[in-house]
Amino acid sequence: MDERTAILSRMFIILGFVLLIPCALGFQLIRVNYFEGEELRALWSKQAIDQIPIPAQRGNIYDANGTLLATNAIDYRLAYDPKVPFNGGIGVPKELENKLIQKLATLTGKSVSHYRNKINSAPPQSRYIVLEDELSVIIKDEIKALDIKGVILEENYKRKYTFGPLASHVLGFVNHETDGRIGLEAYYNEELKGENGVRQVRRDPFNRIFEYIGAPKKLPRDGYSLHTTIDAYIQAILEDELKAGVEKHLANYGTGIIMDPKTGAIKALANYPTYDPNYPASSDEENRRNFAISDMIEPGSTFKLVTAVAAVEQGVVSFDEIFETPDNGEVVIHDLVLRDHDPLGDLSFEEVIQKSSNVATAEIAMRMKPEVFYQYARNMGFGTETNIDLIGEVQGSLAKPYEWSLVTLPWMSHGYEIQTTSLQIAQAYAAFANKGLMMRPYLVEKIEDKNGDVIMEHEPVEIRRIAKRSTLEKLMPVFESVVADSGTGDLAQVEGLRIAGKTGTAKKVVNGRYTNNYRGSFAGFFPVDDPQYVAFILLDEPRTSGYGGFTAAPIFRNIALRIAGLDNDIQRSMTTIEEEAPLAVRTPFLRGLSREEAKTLLRELNIQFEINGNSGYVAAQIPEAGTELKAGDKISLTLSETFTEAESETVKEGYAEIPELRGMNMRKATNLLADLGLETEIIGSGTVFAQYPKQGEWLRKGYTVTLRGKARSLETLTDATKR
């Protein structure tokens, strides 16, 4: 074999071997594609394809009239990518960046250096620098008009509460993930939330979204809308009056509920202080608490409704009966002293409720077996949740009869040794107003989807009949008398509007002891003939007076008056009341009353009057108090901005002028003195016939005025007008 042949043959041996490589490559490619392909491709999807949600819009919340209470606002996040490829180069040119920052600064009112710092302090390779988180549509459009590459504008939905704090405790608020935290937002979170859609995206190895793949895999379903029973007007009235009341009486907080007794629909529910659900974090946590459903209180005298219903239905009390209460207004029951607010003397059953005698109420209750009384309390909804559609309701506490002590029944009869929520009391009075049929309170009338198709509609839920219709019809005038002039709830009166209700004054328990701090409340409804509105008002620790009749009842009155102004039916019934012939009376003492209070008092006395001045308090009256008035006589009042300005020369800081108290009943006199910052010492009971110091003298605030009472004086000034 010559050299050449040898070289060639060796060459072809090598060629043969090397040719095996492309064959091997081919086999390998086929193997990877066809035998491992499926798994590898699945692996690719796993690493590079991701699913991101397309957010669903949260449903709106409307009031009963279709007014929008909660909706979504769109705002924009502005991010900036300084490293975006730009005209073949990389990065946004400096002059464009400056233009962007300057424009942004003028639009938002922030400084140029604020944004400059944000860009400079970002990590060096960062391609996503957030400059603003919540830009309005207007600013967004301006920025977009600049048309600078590298500007990223992202939409985000933000929950918006149209009227700020209005109905905040009902609506609740949402967290950053727009999940409801409390209120309706939380209770109906699933309905409101909707379902997010799904979009497929590709991510790069740094987990950045790279591109969207095709059309959305699943479209979002927007949340359902809630149509609530809340009436924004009534809600506003309630909040307005509650705020005024809390501020006037220097209370810790106030709670109010207004509901429709026929259906259980909550027309308004408020607490003051309140908060703005648009910015929940900027308020105290305490302000966000819905006291109406989550605070347990000892109700006090409003609970006498239970005693009254049970006693009348059980026939243990007769309307002719006279209850004699001791001269000092105290009885001792199993070594515990039970007091009336004033010694009340002999009382009919109606007067027991009207004047709120604890002694007599306890006596009536003790005529019943604990089990019977318990059953009535239970039937009237105490000790169980109302199951209103809100989060955070407590059930209160109603002990079982076998857990009771000997004094439980007499004390429970006037609202102690029991824990209730404000809503439970409102519900019980609603059942009373509805002639015994108790309805479940509720807030959402209807749930609709985006197209207006009804998803859920509320049917009023009858819980039970709490007592016979006849029992409640018998009690109606009794509770109406509470609002009469001689009743504890006289300040709840509205001319021409028949109101029934009950005041409540309860000592607060702090650390297991009764203190001298009170809760004043008023539960009532109107019009009595055909009750449309039930309202419960509670003030916690009012500093002016503990009495519910003095603190909560006027709030109720104002609310009733204003609702009457809204409600055509009620207004019509009020205007058709016949004018009664005026009676000859003596002029009442009006000095110190506010314009509204004076007007109300005079109207009820059917005394004609004229008022000089627009606001403030009555500083002078002609004729003086106690003068006999004949039909047609007029009282002339002069108002002054501050209580004592008319006699400003004699005003002393920290002192109060003693008013004429004679002729008033004890409770009213006490309230008046409390309003002036004076303490009261009472000797005897009934109507004040002597006082020390005398009218017109000045006394340092905090000092004591002594009042001597004479029981059951029939010639008292106010009683003279009793209808």
Binding site: P22, L25, W44, I90
Partner: protein
């Protein structure tokens, strides 16, 4: 079609004597040229598709990088045409000087080289950086072809033939192997193939391979990095891990597999690769995977066939028909150098070989390999002009 024809005035251009300028009567092998152009086109598209992220890290744009790639392609193509004009006998005369210069460069890179990806492989001369290992590889292959040709009389002699040749081989591969084991390995393999073709005793080569394997094991034991690669290679061959994404060692091989699987038969389309974001150096070491993804099984096999075409043209036509032994040996060396680099790169990307960082000639992004691949094809083209059969036809 680019066609190189005899040109008598070229001597002025390149400054060689008239005899050095090749003036045969027929042109060079047009199939080789065609294969090179197709490879370059594939490479251009795949590099453009995969280089965007690299551009980002270098604070430049894909456009600028692809421009530099195009310039390198142009230079390589020009160098190829230039070399094809130079008679390979003239190049052979300079082989010893080339060898010595290369060895100097190799020593220089160890002393002054710049580091990239954890290895000192680049030498920067006047703002122009290149890989001396590439220069040395080409010089060595030319030189041993020359030596083998010279020693044909006593080629079976261990002392007179085997040892002098092995001296250069071991010296060069050893210097390269310090920093770049896989390049040294493949160069050694090509040298042994050429020596085999050049009629060196099978026993001598066989013994050397045995020693080489022992030496390889010794080298392996010194680098955990290499051990890792081998270990990973073994698991990868046994079973392509497809249950879950591997992090760490084995990640590259798996991502390359995913790329190939994703391409299926016809690929995802030009510039639509997504695996380029998951593979390291997709424009270089794993360019074959990107091509498989974008152009599918057909595209990848087409690429492999281009190298196979070069192999067959280079061996069956150019080497077999070369006018002398030197031509045959040089043709085999150049062919093997180009084709084996291409096959190894494809083998790595498709998972039949352990992960190494070898470029794919004419396809990968990278100047030095491109220019030297151009030189090799240039030599091949020149040899193809000196076709003994044609000469017989023309002159006989």
């Amino acid at each position: 079609m680019i066609y190189t024809s005899p040109h008598s005035n070229l001597s002025n251009v390149i400054g060689t004597t008239a005899e050095d300028i090749d003036t045969p009567k027929q042109g060079s092998d047009r199939y080789l040229l065609m294969a090179v152009v197709i490879l370059m086109t594939f490479g251009l598209l795949a590099v453009y598709s995969s280089i965007a992220f690299f551009a980002e890290t270098k604070s430049t744009t894909a456009g600028q990088l692809i421009l530099s790639h195009l310039i390198k392609l142009g230079i390589a193509f020009f160098v190829m045409l230039l070399v094809s004009k130079i008679n390979y006998h003239a190049i052979a005369k300079l082989s010893r000087i080339g060898m010595v210069v290369s060895l100097f460069l190799l020593v220089a890179v160890l002393a002054f080289g710049t580091e990239q990806f954890g290895a000192k492989r680049w030498l920067n001369v006047g703002g122009f950086s290149f890989q001396p290992s590439m220069v040395a590889s080409v010089a060595l292959l030319i030189h041993i072809s020359v030596l083998l040709n010279e020693k044909q009389e006593y080629i079976k002699d261990f002392q007179k033939a085997f040892l002098p040749i092995m001296f250069w081989v071991v010296l060069t591969c050893g210097l390269i192997g310090i920093e770049d084991f896989s390049s040294a390995g493949i160069l050694m393999a090509i040298c042994l193939l050429v020596m085999f073709v050049g009629r060196i005793s099978v026993i001598q080569i066989g013994s050397l391979i045995a020693i080489g394997i022992l030496g390889g094991i010794l080298l392996l034991s010194q680098s955990t990095n290499r051990q890792d690669r081998i270990e990973q290679y073994i698991t990868q061959i046994k079973d392509i891990p497809s249950e879950q994404i591997i992090q760490g060692s084995g990640y590259q091989a798996q991502q390359a597999h995913i790329a190939i699987a994703k391409g299926e038969l016809f690929g995802v389309g030009i510039g639509k690769s997504s695996q380029r974001d998951f593979l390291p150096a997709p424009y270089n070491d794993f360019i074959f995977a990107i091509i498989a993804e974008e152009y599918g099984l057909f595209g990848a096999m087409g690429l492999v066939l281009m190298y196979t075409l070069i192999l067959i043209r280079g061996v069956v036509f150019v080497a077999r028909n070369a006018e002398d032994h030197l031509g045959s040996l040089l043709a085999v060396a150049c062919t093997m150098m180009i084709v084996l680099y291409g096959f190894v790169n494809a083998g790595v990307a498709s998972g039949i070989l352990p992960v190494t960082g070898l470029p794919m000639p004419f396809v990968s992004y990278g100047g030095t390999s491109m220019v030297f691949a151009g030189i090799m094809v240039g030599i091949l083209l020149n040899i193809s002009k000196h076709n003994r059969n044609r000469r017989t036809l023309y002159y006989g």
